[in-house]
Amino acid sequence: MNRHLTPNLILGAILVALVVGVAGLSLIWTPHDHALMNIRERFGAPSDVHWLGTDQLGRDIVSQLMVAARNSMTVALIAVLMGGSIGVALGLLASALGGWFEDLIMRVADIGFAFPALLFAIMLSAVFGPSLWVAVLAIAFINIPVFARVTRGAANVIWTRDYVAAARAAGQGRFAISRDHILPNVAAPVIVQATIEFAIAILAEAALSYLGLGAQPPSPSWGRMLSEAQTLMFMAPQLAIYPGLCIMAAVLGFSLLGDALRDLTDPRLTRSRQA
């Protein structure tokens, strides 16, 4: 299956493995305590001890980036899982019931689409105070309509298949058909979408943290590292460059992986059956 191993897939998989691996590693080991300050060693240059140097408070940059990767992955994973499962359920339900119910769900989804996630995050932090959970909820919320739409679109196609008619002829109800036939057959496009949404979630988490609506100190985050480095742009540009590169690598990795998965599962690109 060599023709499936596209450069997109290989590069995407490597980047994703790298980011996820580093995030996982940070659970058991970082070179230093990421929050340990040492004012005497601030703006330290890369060395054997601090591989990428230290920041304005003398904290180890590698350790911070590693823990930030973990935070970023956690937020994206929980948000995509939450938004995904609610969205998929709504999409399946809309497709199964049809009629005014489907119209209602899809119009609400349209409104959800149009509602800025940032505004929602600001509203949430006004109520609960800013935290990582605000970021999770806000990102999950914007994911619901995306998944509802993708699921419903794919499900509507599956509902027209003869094997679904056969299941109806067999006496299966709508919910049993949704569970037995629709869900397994929409899984591929939903998983592809999830990968792409994961990339968007990483970016959204960085943006929210940059604005102070995400991870709170001392818990590091790429977005907040970026915002803190902003004022020091001319003194220590590397402080902005490192988290920027991390965000880029993670987003690019998941985007490429999503694109490659979409190409793999697109029936138009798989060879049609020889007549």
Binding site: R161, D162, A165, A166, A167, A169, A170, G171, D180, N185
Partner: protein, 259 residues
């Protein structure tokens, strides 16, 4: 003999999308006052080309759709007024075989799973034994049940679809273009299989096709439809020997070798 299926003056209309804001869209009458009865163990052939309404009729017989007028009575019960739960249980008595052997089996389910579906849905017991029996009846082996649909040829898939349709031991089988997608030599095998099963199980059959010669080889009676209306009906031998309607004549001529 009693009628297993009694179709009484059924009509089905669809409203097409409106073309202007002010007027409602045109209405398409897909099936227009069609009636027939089918005895137990007998076969009715329904012949027509695209747009004849034959598939809409099949969907009404299968109670996927309710008629706008008239009624479909199965074994003395009007299908579209039955409560949903009762209809689901009754479904084990009338089953369907579809045209496309590539589309009528869920690609992600094993053959045995698909064949067992009507049994599970109606809460039957001894599922495994009956699936093996159905596979045997259609000329497949019990081991084939563990495979997936893509491992089979078109003809074998149609055998699987037939196994699923007979596993509940129905009284009526509706076959909508069930052999149209198959090669000629495979088509003959499937037609013979349907004849075998009909004799073995005492099935009544509604066999729907665009192909009059195919219908003639297994139907006792034939109903010819065009644009939703019945144009000619009668016992197969008489209808083949002396078709009265020009449309029937043209359908008969199309299948023959001589111009």
């Amino acid at each position: 003999m009693s009628a297993i299926l009694d179709v009484r003056a059924v009509s089905r209309r669809y409203s097409l999308p409106r073309r202007s804001l002010l007027r409602s869209g045109p209405v398409l009458t897909a099936v227009d006052r069609v009636s027939f009865t089918l005895e137990r163990g007998r076969t009715l052939g329904i012949v027509g080309e695209s747009g004849s309404g034959k598939s809409t009729l099949a969907r009404m017989i299968m109670a996927f759709e309710a008629p706008d007028e008239g009624e479909v009575r199965f074994d003395g019960r009007t299908l579209h007024t039955l409560p949903a739960g009762e209809l689901r249980l009754l479904r084990r008595s009338f089953q369907m075989v579809f045209q496309d052997p590539w589309g009528s089996l869920d690609p992600r389910r094993t053959v045995a799973w698909s064949i067992a579906e009507p049994l599970r849905a109606t809460g039957a017991d001894q599922v495994g034994r009956r699936v093996d029996e159905a596979l045997d009846q259609v000329g497949l082996r019990a081991e084939d049940g563990r495979k997936y649909p893509h491992e089979f040829s078109g003809g074998q898939r149609q055998r699987i679809a037939i196994a699923r349709a007979i596993v509940t031991r129905p009284a009526l089988l509706v076959a909508d273009e069930a052999v149209s997608a198959l090669d000629v030599s495979v088509q003959a095998q499937i037609l013979n299989l349907l004849m075998d099963l009909q004799e073995e199980l005492g099935l009544a059959m509604v066999f729907i096709s665009h192909d009059l010669p195919v219908v003639a080889c297994l139907a006792d009676h034939v109903l010819v439809m065009r644009a939703g209306r019945p144009v000619e009906a009668g016992a197969t031998a008489g209808l083949i020997a002396a078709p009265r309607d020009d449309y029937t004549k043209s359908l008969l001529a199309a299948g023959g070798l001589m111009p």
